[in-house]
């Protein structure tokens, strides 16, 4: 997967590039909006990571021009502003995703990977991971024959984690997808919910499925 990274801050560009390359992406870096627009128009990228504040041409303008040219390359917007309304503004301009700074690198990578899969995922109604099963129609979860009672929120959390099985889910992504919050709640809501969910699906079972990734978030994965 070839990614266009547009970021004018050299150190940020450097660690994002390293992280993406470590994960097997091919990365082209630009530090000016106008140059990036030219590159995006010429080259075939599978995804674009675009900072909003850029010299030459700002990120939102780059995005609007791309879209007006009929270019549908998935775009993840990065913003230092991270403000109410800005997310909506970015998505309206044609972005596929939005991540405020300072972001979690692992979360950025997970989202870039998701850009490549966009639209490809089929919605199955029964999810499996090892001996854990979740029926999204009847909201029934069971592991090894034992059925769990889940609250509506726990169910959504488990469904999200199961659909992203094997991928690291940052707190920000979980808050967005499970709570549909466009703000950082400033509480340990996610951690408390994950802890409860873990008590239900992992207590008394081996192997453990729900793992903490320090400084990032959580991952649900089966035995390797």
């Amino acid at each position: 997967m070839r990614v266009l990274l547009v970021e004018d801050e050299p150190k940020t560009a450097a660690f994002v590039r390293t992280a993406l390359e470590t994960e097997g992406f091919a990365v082209d870096v630009f530090d000016r909006g106008d140059h990036a627009l030219a590159a995006a128009t010429d080259g075939a990228f599978d995804g674009i990571v675009l900072d909003i504040m850029l010299p030459g041409l700002d990120g939102l303008s780059v995005l609007r021009r791309l879209r007006s040219q009929g270019d549908r390359t998935p775009v993840l917007l990065l913003s230092a502003r991270g403000q109410v309304g800005e997310r909506v503004e970015g998505l309206n301009a044609g972005a596929d995703d939005y991540l405020p700074k300072p972001f979690v690198t692992a979360e950025l990578i997970a989202r870039v990977r998701a850009l490549g899969r966009r639209g490809a995922e089929a919605k199955t109604t029964t999810l499996h991971l090892a001996n854990l099963t979740l029926d999204t129609v009847s909201h029934r979860a069971e592991r090894g024959g034992q059925v769990f009672e889940l609250t509506a929120r726990e169910f959504r959390l488990l469904e999200f984690l199961m659909r992203s099985a094997g991928q690291i889910c940052g707190r920000m992504t979980i808050i967005e997808k499970v709570w549909d919050y466009d703000f950082d709640p400033g509480t340990n809501l996610v951690d408390v919910y994950v802890k409860r969910l873990r008590e239900k699906i992992d207590n008394g079972f081996e192997p453990k499925l729900l793992h903490t990734v320090r400084g990032v978030g959580y991952v649900l994965k089966g035995p390797a």
């Binding site: 801050e9 502003r81 979690v104 690198t105 692992a106």
Partner: protein, 350 residues
């Protein structure tokens, strides 16, 4: 005493003195004439005639003068009263408004002009401070992003020892906390500058309250705090769904955090005279009366000895207050130390 009353009293005094002078003059004149004409007169004739003249001609003139004078003074001072009302309306959020000039170029017009110039200077300073805060928060994000990125790389480096990893993870937590403060500050600064547009749509507040109560229950569990939803009237308000959820979560989080172990939180939502009245009560240490007026201040954390161990950025209630006022509502904090603390929000119904 107001200038108007003072002027009126002085004016009345002047008129009364004039009346006295007039009376004395008339008395002397009449006595003179009587002596001159050698007219025999009954005792006190001059006094009587003078009194008649004063009562019949002088008194009505004085009363008329007083009324006219009062009206004149009121008229002359009306622009001052208008100016006072207009200046009273000025606060830090509408500094760009200017007082209307009458265009007559008189003293009051000049005074109004001076007020306008002063407001403009204040407006400039306030904008300067806001822009400074916005720039500062933006500038802080870049180093925070780099720091976080590099620490994360170090944390997941297989060569790092467990002790090092603990240290890195701790530093990441602090960076996240700093980022939250910067975010809150940016939000409030933008709100001050009127740069945030909120949605204006019907929102079923009772649904949001139920959802919030469920989340609060989970948040409260580690401290064994019981959360009750006492009442939840079905009602709709007009506003921004995301911001209202943020408001509810902020208040719920506060009620849980500033609580005592194994304490309790009670939520209620009810309809009252065209308002949705939302109350969050919690048992907890409470707050001394002299500190209660300051709870909505930015970075106010109450009694330092209580709050040192409580996580948070100190902007939660300021943000809550902004959300409420952006919805034309009001928020009230009441607490009795050692007893119940209640935050009440009133929002107009849709």
């Amino acid at each position: 005493m107001t200038i108007r009353r003072r002027f009126t009293l002085w004016y009345a005094a002047v008129l009364i003195v004039s009346l006295l002078v007039m009376g004395i003059g008339t008395f002397i004149e009449i006595s003179e004439q009587m002596r001159h004409n050698h007219r025999p007169s009954p005792a006190g004739g001059a006094v009587k005639e003078t009194a008649e003249m004063v009562v019949e001609a002088g008194l009505p003139a004085v009363l008329l003068g007083l009324l006219a004078g009062g009206w004149l003074i009121r008229r002359a001072l009306a622009p001052v009263a208008n100016l006072t009302r207009a200046v009273e309306q000025i606060h830090d959020r509408n500094l760009s408004a200017r007082l209307p000039l009458s265009g007559s170029g008189d003293e009051l017009d000049r005074l109004t002009g001076v007020f306008n110039a002063m407001t403009a200077r204040l407006d400039g300073s306030f904008q300067h401070i806001r822009e400074f805060t916005l720039h500062a928060s933006h500038e802080l994000k870049t180093p925070l992003t780099i720091l976080r990125g590099e620490l994360e790389t170090a944390l997941h480096d297989p060569a790092a020892s467990p002790a090092q990893k603990d240290r890195f993870a701790g530093q990441i937590d602090e960076i996240d906390r700093l980022a939250k403060i910067v975010d809150g500050l940016t939000l409030l600064t933008k709100a001050d500058a009127g740069q945030i547009t909120l949605a204006h749509e019907p929102v079923r507040l009772d649904e949001l309250v139920r959802e919030c109560a469920a989340d609060a229950q989970i948040l409260a569990q580690p401290a064994r705090i019981a959360v009750r939803l006492d009442r939840c009237d079905e009602l709709t308000v007009t506003g921004d769904r995301h911001r209202l959820r943020q408001l509810l979560l902020n208040l719920a989080d506060n009620a849980v955090k500033y609580n005592r172990p194994a304490g309790s939180v009670a939520l209620s939502l009810q309809r009252e005279n065209g308002f949705a009245v939302l109350a969050f009560s919690n048992a907890g240490p409470g707050l001394a009366p002299e500190l209660q007026a300051r709870v909505f201040e930015r970075f106010f954390r109450g009694d330092a000895s209580h709050s040192a161990a409580i996580e948070g950025c100190g902007l939660g209630l300021s943000i809550a207050q902004w959300i409420v006022s952006a919805h034309q509502g009001s928020i009230h904090f009441a607490s009795r130390p050692g007893e119940l603390t209640t935050v009440t929000v009133r929002l107009p119904l849709a």
